[in-house]
């Protein structure tokens, strides 16, 4: 039980450093147990964007936090892919350049996990295979239409 946890924890840790480097284009990320009691210790998150000094997580910018959170979520998904995943505007804090990195990432993982994403970012829409538009032509009543994607997808 403890052995299983330690083993999986190490994998997520290694994954996190990789997903982080991929999304940030460098830098360093780690997970640490904040105590010796493996069964009860909390998990500390260490993040260092490329070129910057390692500092407390709270000093990161809104977009850096958003991208680091995405890296961690994908580190877990990499170890144990779920059949499907529903993500509601998780790239909200990212600038356009980072949204494109996120979209590329999503495409790689979509071979093992089916993604349903709610978004208003063009970069994320471009990564989609299917696009649905939700509107309220009649106030208060939602309607859904299938949208054709341009650029042959």
């Amino acid at each position: 039980m403890t052995e299983q946890f330690k083993y999986n924890f190490r994998i997520i840790r290694e994954n996190f450093n990789l997903t982080f480097k991929e999304l940030f284009g460098g830098g360093y990320a780690d997970l640490r147990l904040d105590g010796d009691d493996v069964l009860n210790a909390g998990i500390e998150i260490i993040v260092q964007p490329p070129g910057k000094k390692l500092q407390t997580l709270s000093l990161l910018s809104g977009g850096e936090r958003g991208l680091a959170a995405i890296a961690l979520i994908f580190a877990i998904l990499k170890m144990k892919p779920t059949p499907f995943c529903v993500l509601d505007e998780i790239e909200a804090a990212l600038d356009d350049a980072n949204v494109n990195r996120f979209a590329e990432f999503l495409k790689d993982y979509s071979t093992r996990t089916q993604f349903i994403i709610i978004t208003h970012r063009k970069g994320s829409m471009a990564a989609a295979d299917t696009l649905y538009g939700v509107t309220m032509e009649e106030k208060g009543v939602s309607k859904v239409v299938s949208l054709k994607l341009e650029g042959g997808k």
Partner: protein, 165 residues
């Protein structure tokens, strides 16, 4: 296992029945503020067995039933059906296609069905239990909640890791 389609009627802003067909890759849902996008993700959570009205942004579970508009009357029932492809047999039920349905009436009565056969809520919850789906933070991430994985106390974060690991 993957999602094939969802049908929603009477749930939140879906006064008229809507149906979305999913492919195996990436499906994006777009639209203006307040149009109903997050309501679709609420519908998925709800049909998977979510029991907390608060997680669905309501004060009580009855809040998920279409409440009417200035020009439409409220409805008496909310219904969501989710159809999954089970050709890989991940779900230990001998069907290649499984449809789970949940209904809630204003009276407070609920109905649950698997392939149109009445069952209990926990029968639906158990279908997804071993797949890792159903708990927030990792396979179902709500709007404004992605930062939580960084800001929760390190002890709470542990629960998320234990579920995955």
């Amino acid at each position: 296992m993957y999602l094939k389609r969802i049908e929603v009627k009477g749930f939140k802003s879906f006064a008229d029945k809507i149906e979305l067909d999913f492919n195996g890759g990436i499906t994006a849902i777009v639209g203006p503020n307040g149009s109903g996008k997050s309501n679709i993700s609420d519908a998925i959570r709800w049909v998977l067995g979510e029991q907390s009205a608060k997680t669905l942004r309501g004060a009580k579970m009855e809040d998920v039933i279409f409440a009417g508009t200035e020009t439409r009357k409220p409805l008496g029932c909310a219904e969501v059906s989710l159809t999954i492809d089970n050709s890989d047999g991940i779900v230990p039920i001998e069907y290649t296609e499984i449809t789970v349905t949940r209904r809630l009436y204003r009276s407070g009565e609920s109905e649950y069905l698997i392939n149109n056969t009445p069952c209990r809520l926990r029968d639906i919850q158990e279908i997804f239990m071993d797949t890792g789906i159903g708990k927030d933070g990792y396979s179902l991430i709500g709007q404004g909640r992605v930062d939580e994985i960084l800001s929760t106390r390190s002890e709470d974060r542990r629960n998320l890791f234990e579920e995955a690991a």
